[in-house]
Each structure stands twice: as C-alpha cells, then as structure tokens.
C-alpha cells in the first residue's frame, strides 16, 4: 500500500513538470492559434542547454534554468517574428509542415551537435530523499516539481499583473479588438511564442533531473504535451497543470501495476475519451 502511495506521489511530482511543459504549448495555442509541432524538440534543446552548461560551468541546474528559459524565450521570439508570422493566415496543414521542417532541423541539429547517445546530468543530491510519514520522496523530483509550480505561478502573475501580459490576454480574447485599440499584435505574438518556448525550455531543464536526454525523445514529448493540453483544455492554464498531473499519475500507476511500456496507452486512451466526450478539455471553454 505504501509503495503504491510512493508511486502516486512520484507521478504527481513528475506531472507538475509535465504541466509546465504543456503550459507552453497551451499558451501558444491559446493566443496565436498555432499548434506547435516542434514543442518536444524545443524542450530537448532546453535539456541539452542545461546539460552542456552544467558540464562546462559546473553550475547547478536550478541556477541554469532561468538562463536557459531566457535563451529559449529569445529564440522563440525570433522564430515567431521572422518565420511563423508569415504563416498566420495560411491553412493549418501549411503551418504544420513548416513546424515539422523546423522540428526535423532541431532534432538533426542536436544529433549533429551531441550525437545519438542518451545522456544524463550528475548532481550530488541525486539520491537524496525525504521521508514523510513513511512515504519516500526523491529530492530531485520534489525540487523539480517545486520549480515547475513556481514557473507556472510566475507566468500566472505575468498574465494578470503586467501590462504586456494583460495585452496578450486581450489578443487571445479578441484579436481584431486588440488591433483596433492599437496593440501591436505581431509583437505580442512573438512575446507569447517566446514565453511558450521559455516555459518548455525550463521544463526541459527540470525534466533532465528525472530522465535521460537524447535527440529522438523530442517527438514523444511533443505528443505527450498534446495529450496533456487536450485533456486539460487547449488554451487553459490551470487545465495544462491539471492535465500534466493526471497524465503523470496515470503513467506512474499504469507503469507500476501493468508494464512501463504500456503507460502511454492509457494516456492516449484518456485523450481519445476526452476528445470525444468533452473536446474542449476538462477545464477548457467551448470555442
């Protein structure tokens, strides 16, 4: 029984990191209406950035995380400003193919730079754990979840208390209206994509504490992010976190009770049910 509680807690904590990753996708879709098919690839870039900087500079991943998030913010800003903005009025399949091309370039770029081998980060607190009423909690998992939750909280504050955050929400609610009142929608879109990229980059840095990185994991995480945001509700911030936690727990429990390789079967099953029964997601609003 206690083992089972351990598994659930571990899934819950991993789920928080998934939530931050999905938050990036959700923010991008909610505002720009672009489905970022290069999301997992951007996360893998964040993972490699943290890994390499940690090896070169010896800094703790939690110190590096904000730096990497900032770097990805700038990259995401530029990507939206100079590439994706051209496709805003184009059909979905063209946007899709363009992002697939970007994702192929990112994956192969990582393959060229870092090779195909799986790598992981070494921290000296890797095997520490806390005990809470008999339940064992890994220190890295706990810290990663805390990092993810504080990232999400910062984002929430940004969208509710800063002028630019409020402007972005205005764009999401009514793009034409936002243009009418004089907001620079193209720049706000670029900021939004930057934020989405920063989020996923940060979550990559956190996830690196829990899993190994190699260039080809990217596609799996793109799909995982889709599952989470659809379950939670595309465009809903609390939905992304809830979806992340649900998928994290579902993966952990099914991996523990059945076989680990079947864990995503349940996630996809959950996705199919949510799409059919409640397509706007658990916490989403109907369009």
């Amino acid at each position: 029984m206690l083992t089972f509680v351990n598994v659930i807690v571990a899934g819950l904590l991993t789920g928080c990191v998934y939530g931050l990753m999905a938050l990036g996708l959700s923010v991008i879709f909610g505002v720009i209406r672009i489905v970022n098919f290069a999301h997992g690839e951007m996360m893998a870039v964040g993972m490699y950035a943290v890994l390499i900087l940690n090896q070169k500079l010896g800094l703790d991943p939690f110190v590096l995380m904000p730096l990497v998030a900032l770097a990805l913010f700038l990259a995401g800003y530029a990507l939206q400003r100079y590439l994706i903005n051209r496709y805003m009025a184009r059909p979905e399949h063209e946007q899709f193919l363009m992002l697939i091309a970007v994702s192929i370039m990112l994956t192969s770029g990582m393959l060229i730079a870092f090779g195909p081998d799986a790598r992981n980060i070494q921290v000296d607190y890797a095997y520490d754990s806390y005990e809470l009423g008999g339940v064992l909690i890994d220190k890295v998992r706990m810290l990663a979840a805390l990092g993810a939750v504080s990232g999400a909280a910062a984002l929430w504050a940004f969208f509710h208390f800063t002028r630019i955050g409020k402007s972005i929400r205005a764009c999401a609610d009514n793009q034409v209206g936002a243009q009418v009142v004089g907001l620079d929608v193209k720049r706000l879109y670029a900021v939004t994509f930057g934020i989405g990229a920063g989020c996923v980059g940060a979550s990559g840095g956190l996830l690196l504490l829990l899993v190994d990185v190699q260039p080809y994991i990217a596609a799996d995480y793109t799909l995982l992010a889709f599952i989470i945001v659809i379950i939670g509700g595309l465009g809903s911030m609390p939905g992304a976190l809830l979806g992340g936690v649900l998928v994290g727990v579902s993966e952990a429990v099914s991996g523990f009770l059945i076989v680990p390789s079947l864990k995503s079967l349940f996630s996809f099953g959950l996705l199919i049910i949510v799409l059919l029964v409640r397509p706007q997601g658990l916490l989403g609003r109907r369009a």
């Binding site: 979905e92 193919l97 192929i104 370039m105 996705l271 799409l275 397509p279």
Partner: protein
Amino acid sequence: MNADIAVSWSRRSGLSLAIFVAASLVVPVIASNYVVSTLIVLLFSAFLGQAWNLMMGYAGQLSLGHALYVGLGAYISGALFVQYGLTPWVGMLAGMAAAVVAGVVIAALSFQFGVSGVYFALLTIAFAEFARIAFNHFAWVGGSSGLFLPVLRLTGNDILHLRGSPTMFYYILLALTLTSLALSNLLLRRRIGFYWRAIREDQAAAQAAGVDVFRYKIAAVALSAAMTAIAGTLMAFYDNNLYPNTTFGISRSIDIIMAPIIGGLGTLFGPILGALVLTVLSEATTNLSANFGIDGLKQWIYGSTLLIIVMLQPAGLWPWLRARLRLDGADG
C-alpha cells in the same frame, strides 16, 4: 477549385502524360537495381500521397494518423500469410476491410461529436499511437520484436504470394499509382468530387445547399483508408519485416502527408510530383552527407530544404510548375 476542371485534357497535357507513362514502363528494363528500388520508394510515397490527398486535398479532412491504415493493411495481410499461408491478395482485402472499419468508426465518432480541424487531426494521431502501443504488446504478430515474412529463394516471380523481384513490385505499384490517378480524376468530375470540394471550401454552405455532408465525408475517409491499407500490404511483402514503432509510428504519418503538401494539396499530380521531389531530395542528401560521415547531417539538409520549399511555394510545387509548363486541363 476553378472552372477548368470540367475542361477536357488538352493535347499538350495528354502528350506529356503519355510520355511520362511510357518512360515509367521501360525504366526497369534499362535501369540499375538502385534506381528501381529508389523508384519503388517514390511510388509508395506517391500512392500513399494520393490516398491521403483524397481525404484532405479534396474533402478537407486533416488526418495525421494515416499510419494506422498502413499498419492494419500491413499487419493483417502479413500475419495471415505467416500464420496460415494465406495469399496476400485475400489478406489485403481483410486489411482494407479493417482499415475502412477503423477509419469510418473514427470519422463517424468525431463528426458525431463535432470534433473537427486540429482536434480531428489530433484524434487521428491518438488512434494511430494507440494501435502502435497495442501492437507492441500483441504477441500473435510478434509484438515489439517484429513480424518477419519468410523470404523464399525463387527463380521466378510468384505474384499470387507477392514473393518476387523489386521489378515485380515496381510494376504493381506503378499500376496502382496510375489507377488511383485515373480514379481521382474520375471522382473529381463526378458529383461526389464536387460535393467534396464544396465541403472542403465551406462545410456549412455545402450543408445548407443540401449536400449530405456526413455521408460524403465518411466516403472520403473510407476510400482513403482502403487505398492506404493496400499500400500497407505491399509494403509488408516488399520489406518482409514489420515493427509496430515504424509501421504505425507518427513519423510514417508525417512522411505520408509531405509529398501531397509539397506537390500541391488537392491537385491530381501534386502527390506524384511531391513524391518525386522528396525522394530525389532524400537520395541526394544521403549521398551528399555520406561523404562527411556526420550523424544527422542528412536530416538537417532535408529539413532545411523542406522549409525553403514551404516558404517559397506554400501552396505546393505542382500549381507553380503547371503554370511554368503552360499545361492546362483537368486538375482540381
């Protein structure tokens, strides 16, 4: 898309097509094994692209999970052959039936529940991935360690059991590609083709005009799934090995949709031109990057060229080429 659909083929277009077909027929006689095997890759891509184009290009339903139908066509015919020695032509029918049932169920569920656009696309991915993971744990077809078809040493070609030389597969695929070209051309001129394009352009307007939208969308999905399953069966018997992760994988679905989009979505020759461009590009990058021996260089060049094409000709290469060659006539 425009009025010239009903115009019959001009002599110029007809002649170009005749030369193209004649050249395709003699290629295996004069070309090397390498060329034939590359052309087989091309024809698989063209035929699958045509199948996908029917559903997305004409009827406007974006599927990103066509690997599901490839997988059903491949695995069902392959498993029936390995387990019972059943001829792949019967197995192909079984695979097509399964793919049609799967496609119709997915489409009917989504249309019934109002799942459309991006959500429909994500749903098709979800079903394909679901099947991929399920087949990885399906011991009867080998699970994740794969299904292998016995390779027989034959002097001749055994068409009944699809055991033979690449040349045999080349001609079968060529016949299929030309048949589906003719079929697409025929359907586009019929009522169903006009209804599909009406649904693609404005579903609400089509419905208001009295088109049975649900029925015609389902028809497009069923036809597309059946054709894709045929390609799956041929792929199983050409490759002789099947793994769920590649057969049902998302990268397969992405490969399927690239040729028709690059070539020109909703055009007759787009999937074929796109397959030609992508196959040549893939072979060229393989040869080019082989000189450097760097992992990932091939895909990087491939990806960046893809991006350049999408940036320069977002509507596809065929509409552009057709204007350059001043070919007119039937092309939706």
